[in-house]
């Protein structure tokens, strides 16, 4: 079964009477364990598509099956639970809670779990150790470098072990070294079986994915399999190991 199935998704924004049609009939399926990059010019609707796939916004029309569930039918409580359990987000601007320690930032999704998670503190510590920030638990975002902040957001997005990870320009605010590290982490997460969807402008980031989707003016322009997938994957894994 596909983990994501969307059919004829339209999205129209209404701003002070002016209608902007941003998505104009998008249909696609994503299999579990897929590694997709979405590319396209600015304003093509990439972020808009991600907010819909991430259950942060509803499409104007069209259907969305997430893991076999019709998303349109869900109420706020159910949508919140889906976001909490099945989806992780990584943003270009990090979006960490300001003034809050790395530990508490990673802990945050656990506050909204359906049932009180056991051993939450240990889980958070382990997640931060895994991304090499075990010694920075009490640092606030302002006291962390951009690369460190982005690693905290990855720890946060993974703390609930979601099936899908969405990343919108995850390397956009990072230098190339930190960007490469982040992508190596994604490669590894995908190798472990997690579905990953990365939005990017950067061709060197896009080529990490197995499948490259090009969006233009609200429509899918092309949907290609990345010939170089294995090669780039192994080379970045090597780069990360160094």
């Amino acid at each position: 079964m596909s983990i994501i199935e969307i059919d004829s998704i339209y999205k129209t924004y209404q701003d002070e009477g002016v209608e902007t049609e941003v998505l104009k009939g998008i249909s696609m399926t994503v299999e579990e364990g897929d590694y997709i990059s979405i590319v396209g010019p600015s304003g093509a609707g990439k972020s808009t598509l991600m907010t819909i796939l991430g259950c942060l916004a509803q499409p104007t029309s069209g259907t969305y099956l997430l893991d076999g569930v019709e998303v349109e039918q869900l109420n706020d409580q159910q949508l919140s639970r889906v976001r909490n359990e099945k989806i992780g987000f990584v943003f270009q601007a990090f979006h960490l809670l300001p003034g809050v320690s790395a530990f508490d930032n990673v802990m945050m999704p656990l506050l909204y779990c359906h049932t009180s998670p056991e051993g939450a503190a240990e889980r958070v510590e382990r997640a931060l150790e895994r991304i090499g920030l075990g010694h920075r638990l009490n640092h606030t975002p302002g006291q962390l470098s951009g690369g460190e902040q982005q690693r905290v957001t990855i720890a946060r997005s993974l703390i609930n072990d979601p099936k899908i990870l969405f990343a919108d320009e995850p390397t956009g605010n990072l230098d190339s070294k930190n960007g490469a590290e982040i992508m190596a982490t994604f490669d590894q997460l995908n190798a472990e079986g997690r579905t990953i969807i990365v939005i990017t402008h950067d061709p060197s980031v896009a080529k990490h994915a197995r499948r490259i989707l090009t969006l233009r003016d609200g429509r899918i322009e092309s949907d290609q399999t990345n010939e170089n997938f294995q090669k780039s994957h192994t080379s970045s894994a090597r780069a990360a190991a160094e």
């Binding site: 907010t51 991430g54 942060l56 916004a57 706020d76 409580q77 919140s80 639970r81 976001r83 909490n84 359990e85 987000f89 943003f91 979006h95 960490l96 809670l97 300001p98 003034g99 809050v100 508490d104 945050m108 999704p109 506050l111 909204y112 779990c113 009180s116 946060r156 609930n160």
Partner: protein, 402 residues
Amino acid sequence: MRIFRNLTQALHGLLLNKGNTFLMTLGVMIGIASLTVIVAIGEGTKAKVLNRIASLGFGPDSFSVYSGAGRLFFGRSRNTTSMTLQDADDIRAMPNVRMVIPRQRTRMKIIHKKDFTTTRIYGVTPEWRSARQWVITDGIFFGDADMERKRKVIVLGATPARKLFGDKDPLGKKVRVGQVFFEVIGLLEKKGLTESGYDPDDRTLIPLTTSMSRLLRKSHLHSLKVVAMSPELVEETMDGVTQVLRHNHGLSSLADDDFRFITPEGIMQWVTESEQAMNRMLLLISTVSLLVGGIVIMNILLVSIRERIHEIGIRRCFGARRSDITQQFLFESVFVSLLGGGLGIALGLGLSVALQQSTFIPAKITWEPFALAFGFSMIVGLVFGIHPARKAAWLNPDETLR
């Protein structure tokens, strides 16, 4: 429990946004403090008025009839001349009446050598002393013989005695009022100022007959003090007095009374009415001050939501429900209100105690306004927090992250 986690998040949020927290707490604190202080002042004023009434010297069996239409101490005309000794005699003849003291009253300068003071001068009959049960500390009170002979004798209250004679003994000395020289024959016991600053000792007493024929040179009375046989008979006696006076003054059945009663009940009623008016005013002021505190909270929360719109979006991305956000912001406002309420109560209590110790504004501390204030601050937090909280919760998660 999810709700406790939201509570913790709210407390963290308040700690992180210290500036806003401080301003909101201040808003509620000022509202609550002013509420409690205003009520304390109101209660203090009430106590003071009651005290003043107690000092008027009414027993439960007595009342006064003042000449002239009007209400209580507020006469409508100053020159009604209809009340006479005949009225006093007729009332005294009523079976329910134990005692009637007819009175003339004036305010004049009283002079001894080079010292002088202006004081109230009452022309009364010898029964006055037993009706008021006022002790004579030195000398004697005038008697029937003084009345009959219209003797020029005077009894001084403590205030004129002190002002005219200082430490010297006034007994036997002469004082002049207008063109008449009086001999001081007695001194009234000092009662001291009432809380309101009314001085009951600022008075002198002369025989009524002397007052009528030598000092004022007119025969109409200022008022009558009537003592009934028992407290239960007061009302009946008042009806009888009304009939006698209306008859004696030749009032037709359509005419208004040309006299008025002053009774402890009448004064109480008047006080109650003024108190109710005062309470309404207090209520208005308190409501306004709380409203101001509430609106401060609401505005700061709304501003705070704009500042924290990202935080809301992030939380929503990672699984916060609308109800979680609502709870978080509501907890923040309720907590701030309770904190501000607590501090306001402390401040209000401090100010009330300070006022109580000072003499120029009366204050009386009662527990009710403080309990009320605490309840109010909770309600303020809920009522004024709900709008910002719901507003925060209904923001679209995708739009808050832009």
